[in-house]
Subunit: 255 residues, 2 copies
DNA sequence: CAGTGGTCTAGACCACAAG
DNA sequence: TTGTGGTCTAGACCACTGG
């Protein structure tokens, strides 16, 4: 009864404000979301139970249920009856990576993780267009990486990647030839990509890009730009590149 | 007190089963969804209030709130405090149509509805590839439409459209030059498009397509295929076509 | 004003997991 | 057995819309 089982509510939580214009369950939800982002509970870790949270924040269990339910729908938490509430580890492989599928592959099929071959890595002053898109200050520099992306060892795209050097300090020294980038941003630079947009256009391949892709100059290619955003719609990554056809095609799900 | 205000619960509802393995709020939600699909309440029409539903189905208001809340998240209903709960009219313009945005337009901006100019309309035996994709029987025919799609009067794509003639009987006689197609499928052919997938590749424009798009032959274009599905993942529309660059670009949101 | 949906409470009972 | 989350109830108070 009076024993205190492994308390998972670390500091004494600052209590919620019932007179605030925003409802209690929402305050609680945002509070928990922030604490999860701060790694107070790590991925796959057990959260406090409904009763513990209700007691700690001095609200009813129903209010806790509503807050947790919303976080479940946002895929931040997962709940298991009889066991508890757990922090969902971020999943990247399903969402952002690999919108290119090899020709002949089916819809539901597992897609291979693309590799890449880095052609150049520099820390430089950004081109003006890049500085505007990433909303960089006057003297901010960027990590600029040019790479060839491959699937089963075959090149399918060349790409320039730009990251604010302020956030991604030392990124230019990493080996990214086999890795997915967004998990690295998340784990090593505390930068979670939550949304991205891409713009596609047909273009004639510039000679250099054509060379990397095994095409003749001016062959038709997809020109692709990507802007990736972290929390608060802050742009933190910009890419531009060319993708060839034949070996892969670009797939979009519309809902 | 005893007056019966405009009853919006039409037939005496068959009551829910508290001993069923599926929860009451879920039964209620599915029941309402079915009734909305059957047009018991039409788009923009007022649903019964929480209290009315609770009384009619003999459950608590909390259970009704949960069922309605889920339907709101599915965008089937919209609730307005002080007014009531309304059926959401199906919205097509935001989801499927017009993934092409004019150059220079911003993310949140309203996009114009594209027009089209029909080049040919026929009811024919489908090419084998089309028959396979639409899973047509041996002797089934298709409505085949070729059209030029325009934005602000300027052509940006040419497209072949294939529909199973069995479902879309008489579709070839319609004027579709100014209309969005999916609302027509929905209203006139009882076929709601719920999902679609597109495949993109760079190609050199065939001479005829190039002519319609104001390009020289072999200019780089986007080759686009689309398969659209109705309930139960049944494919009911197939498109293939070419889109030019310069005037528009193809935009994809990644989540 | 009466009626609507939005929030919140306190409690009940259940199915499930794990010791 | 204890503790978990999942469902359901009955009631309260509030903010808002409309007559």
């Amino acid at each position: 009864m009076t024993k205190t089982p492994a308390r998972r509510i670390r500091p004494e939580p600052q209590s919620l404000d019932p007179r605030a214009p925003v409802p209690l369950y929402f305050q609680l939800k945002e509070r928990l979301k922030q604490q999860i982002a701060d790694l107070m509970w790590k991925p796959d870790e057990l959260m406090p139970s409904e009763n513990e949270l209700a007691a700690a924040y001095r609200v009813s269990v129903g209010t806790v249920k509503k807050a947790l339910g919303e976080l479940v729908r946002e895929r931040i938490l997962a709940r298991r009856r009889g066991k508890g509430t757990f922090v969902t580890p971020p999943n990247f492989s399903l969402s952002f990576v690999s919108r290119f599928s090899p020709f002949g592959s089916e819809a539901g099929e597992a897609r291979p993780i693309p590799g890449s071959q880095v052609l150049s890595t520099r820390v430089v002053a950004p081109p003006q267009q890049v500085a505007e898109i990433l909303r960089l200050g006057r003297r901010e520099s960027v990590v600029a990486i040019t790479r060839v992306r491959t699937l089963y060892g075959l090149p399918f795209a060349v790409e320039d990647l730009f990251l604010p050097a302020r956030i991604f300090r030392g990124f230019e020294k990493r080996d990214i030839s086999r890795a997915l980038l967004y998990p690295i941003y998340d784990a090593e630079y505390s930068t979670r990509i939550v949304r991205a947009e891409e713009f596609l256009e047909p273009r004639a391949a510039p000679a250099e890009a054509a060379g990397h892709l095994g095409l003749r100059a001016a062959a038709p290619v997809l020109y692709i730009e990507r802007i990736a955003y972290t929390f608060g719609d802050r742009p933190v990554e910009y890419r531009q590149g060319y993708a060839r056809g034949g070996r892969v095609r670009y797939r979009v799900e519309l809902h």
